[in-house]
Amino acid sequence: MGSLLRVSAALKQGQITPTELCQKCLSLIKKTKFLNAYITVSEEVALKQAEESEKRYKNGQSLGDLDGIPIAVKDNFSTSGIETTCASNMLKGYVPPYNATVVQKLLDQGALLMGKTNLDEFAMGSGSTDGVFGPVKNPWSYSKQYREKRKQNPHSESGDSDWLITGGSSGGSAAAVSAFTCYAALGSDTGGSTRNPAAHCGLVGFKPSYGLVSRHGLIPLVNSMDVPGILTRCVDDAAMVLGVLAGHDPKDSTTVHDPINKPLVLSSLADVSKLCIGIPKEYLVPELSSEIQSLWSRAADLFESEGAKVIEVSLPHTSYSIVCYHVLCTSEVASNMARFDGLQYGHRCDIDVSTEAMYAATRREGFNDVVRGRILSGNFFLLKENYENYFVKAQKVRRLIANDFVNAFNSGVDVLLTPTTLSEAVPYLEFIKEDNRTRSAQDDIFTQAVNMAGLPAVSIPIALSNQGLPIGLQFIGRAFYDQQLLTVAKWFEKQVQFPVIQLQELMDDCSAILENEKLASVSLKQ
């Protein structure tokens, strides 16, 4: 069931048809509805696409490895004819007239669009808990691995009230892939929004180099840092999808020409003796859980024992990066959200006393307080009297942070190895004890400097924690060395053999519940 490439081979060999595969995934989506991973399930669209894919396979004219493969797309990507909400009241009911370039590329390869996944409103958050459609539940909350560990704990509560967060903001995409409802999903990554939920959900979460993949149609958070992200269950799958998505887009002036080989097939590293792994010392922070610290250390040892050179490096401006990120992020947010005024599309309030009153009410009703907070902060930093001291200063610090990475790579390091998150996924009730801003500042600590430097990075699941929950580690590469980065990640993945999530019990429970409901409804009819 697991890998995209394997099921693709099965499709090509006729072992399964696209329609069967589609039905299977649709059924799983229904079964896992309580995860709240999907905002929109595009059942009809997917089935139609499956039908067309089937025709192509019958005629021996399949489009490639993605033909007939169910995928999901985060709901901040524009999809033609399918509601795109960004999990916000502001865009409830907004149906775009065009596809994001990355969506179009997937569709052109015959992928089946299962639906639009849930997120934090406008991708602002690190828990996927702050969207208007409610929070996303981490499938690992219901895994055998986690439940068994929990039973051993006499203080654990029963019931569903202590389910775990997925991380964010691409939590819906992560949950969708993790629960087997699709084989790959698009997320977005501005400060870690693809890598963070990947780590919490036991997935590969890949952030490409800035400029490698088109942002046309990705509803922006921070234009200078956003990238489309890829969530899959293994590295080869991510590489394959990257091969489809990467490339210059005339509609996005920030994409580069001829950056990578297509199609992207990763070689298997025979050995890592020529590799140099860098460990940034500033990333060893007190808040890091001892479990993750230990796993990080063991990973470094693994590389060393297999012949790689492992050295400590310094990224001296690390401690400034959260504040710098905050200034630049909120400033761009304030600007990007200015278009949401209720005039052309999206939510419009009922007040029509004056244009100004209409703007104010529309934006108050349309945005949650996280979004409004960032807009206010951003506008403050952009005021004439503050611009030099905040925005310009932050850009200068950003340059220093980016240079830290350049220096590290220039000193002979091929790839940096760091944690992805401070801890494993926490229960929702615990997560919401702190506000969004606090959480984001904490959770983005290992991931956001990468966005500021525009580098490629990937989170790979390494092992289960003592509680049976996934932990991921992050690899960071040089700009546009995405293929090399993924090659190293693939080697590492093979070494650690991360276990597959066991959700069978959950599925059986669900089927039983569904069966009971059916019987009940039948008896009522009589």
Binding site: N223, A338, D341
Partner: protein, 486 residues
């Protein structure tokens, strides 16, 4: 102070004279031509003259006016500055709107090559330094005709800077004398036009048409080297001709392709500059001159009566011929300028810096553009005067029908002689004209001999008419005086 506009509508090149009869600012003497270091957007309150503390005495001190202009010219291109939708005048509302123009979330700007070329051409024609690297910025404000909530412009580093615009003012009573004047061009920047709002007061609603939203504009900023309405009007007229000759803008004010805002202040020469006001909504050259002169007078009156000038925006009321305060725009806007993150820096090349493997479709070569510049109006006028002996003022009013040439294969020289536009060089023939005019108007001759100083002007006028305006008035006067034995 009306300017006789001699304009014939045609598809060919047009030259026109903005020739004001005895412009008042020039009778008073040379304008101060004071330079201003004021940065656009800043209030000049700090530079308010000290004299407002004392009560000024009316009419005692000379006043000088300082006028700066911000001119927006719509670029003549097939599509908009950052999107592929068409540029057309008078299309059905909202029929030329792309997803980007409507600010649909997720859409991105893509720079239009033709618009960049137009900016470079205009910059070269105005003797500007073309910046090989220029940047785009966002200028934020909320308005119904600005869908994204910001305009993409070039605030930090525009495409062209430090140029000059030379125009000709007809001076004094002597006709045919044209004094060249220069106004410095501070910068030229590329920016987006906004949509249009139509206020329907009957139904208390505003209708928004986005056809114009995103059309490319060239903003030409002139330093405050101008000192009155006539100078401003003439300078704008010359700019119009240049833009039309280049083909970079049709610059038709009536169709909104050229819009001018004027910054006006007054001060006593030698003293600090006064508070300035901005005058907007000027949609013809005539109103531009009128509005500026009115505003200058208004400010002088205000100050002479002990009042003070507010740093505000005013609009020109055509029917009343005066400027009125636009109270609702009084609050100072902070535009929160921010670099446009979706557009990398714009890099231009010249012959020396052009990379050898460059794709010609992807680069712009300034030298190549310079080589292809058409003849500019000032050059053409000079050529007509030198080559064909035309009167300078006729070089302004010459109308050349491009179609006429094409159809009949004539050169300008042939047309000039056919239409009898060249200067009458034959003194003998002119003497004949003078003699016959005097013979036909004995009463006027009597008046001259009686000592009436204006009578000779009448004679000169009659001779000019007889010679179809081909004779040099100075020569006519000389001949008449000789013949009258004055």
């Amino acid at each position: 102070m009306a300017a006789p506009m001699l304009r014939w509508g045609c598809r060919g090149r047009r030259w026109a004279l903005a020739w004001v009869d005895g412009g008042s600012c020039h009778r008073r003497g040379a304008p101060t031509g004071s330079t201003s270091n004021r940065i656009r957007g800043q209030s000049s309150l700090a530079q308010q003259p000290l004299r407002t503390a004392q009560k000024p005495r009316k009419g005692e001190h000379k006043w000088a006016a300082v006028v700066g202009l911000e001119i927006h010219a719509q670029i003549s291109s097939n599509s908009k500055l950052f999107s592929g939708s068409q540029v057309r005048f008078s299309a059905p509302p909202n029929s030329l709107v792309s997803f980007f123009d409507a600010s649909l979330p997720g859409t991105l700007p893509v720079l239009n090559r033709r618009c960049v070329e137009a900016a470079v051409m205009t910059g070269l024609a105005l003797n500007c330094h073309i910046n090989k690297k220029s940047l785009f910025d966002r200028k934020h404000y909320f308005y119904a005709d600005l869908p994204a909530g910001y305009q993409i412009t070039q605030q930090r580093l525009p495409i062209a800077v430090n140029g000059s615009l030379t125009y000709g003012i007809s001076a004094g009573k002597e006709r045919g004398q044209v004094i060249p004047k220069t106004v410095r061009v501070k910068q030229i920047q590329l920016e987006q036009d906004s949509g249009k709002s139509l206020h329907d007061d009957l139904r208390s609603q505003t209708l928004v048409d986005l056809n114009r939203a995103g059309v490319g504009l060239l903003e030409v900023v002139l330093e405050p080297d101008l000192s009155c309405g006539e100078e401003a009007a003439t300078a704008v007229r010359e700019l119009q001709l240049i833009l039309q000759a280049l083909g970079t803008s049709q610059a038709n004010m009536a169709e909104g392709q050229l819009r001018v805002d004027a910054n006006v202040s007054v001060h006593h020469p030698g003293e600090p500059l006064g508070v300035r006001t901005e005058v907007k909504n000027l949609n013809s050259i005539r109103f531009l001159a009128k509005a500026i002169d009115y505003e200058i007078q208004r400010q002088i009156s205000e100050l002479e009566n002990g009042g003070e000038i507010l740093n505000e925006t005013r609009s020109f009321h055509e029917k009343l011929g005066c400027t009125v305060s636009m109270r609702d725009k009084e609050a100072k806007q902070d535009y929160r300028f921010m670099p446009e993150p979706n557009l990398p820096p714009l890099l231009l090349y010249d012959a020396t810096s052009l990379p050898t493997d460059a794709d010609p479709q992807q680069v712009i070569n300034i030298d190549q553009i310079r080589e292809m510049l058409p003849e500019l109006p000032s050059v053409t006028r000079e050529r007509l005067v030198q080559q064909y002996g035309m009167l300078p003022e006729h070089s302004f009013t010459l109308l050349v029908f491009e179609e006429l040439w094409k159809r009949e294969g004539k050169t300008p020289g042939q047309i000039v002689s056919e239409k009898q536009l060249e200067l009458m060089q034959d003194r003998g023939a002119l003497e004949q004209f003078c003699y016959s005019v005097m013979k036909d108007h004995p009463q006027v001759v009597m008046d001259v001999k009686k000592g009436n100083p204006r009578a000779i002007n009448k004679l000169i006028g009659l001779v000019r008419k007889a010679t179809l305006n081909r004779a040099d008035p100075a020569m006519i006067k000389e001949i008449l005086e000789k013949q009258l034995s004055l």
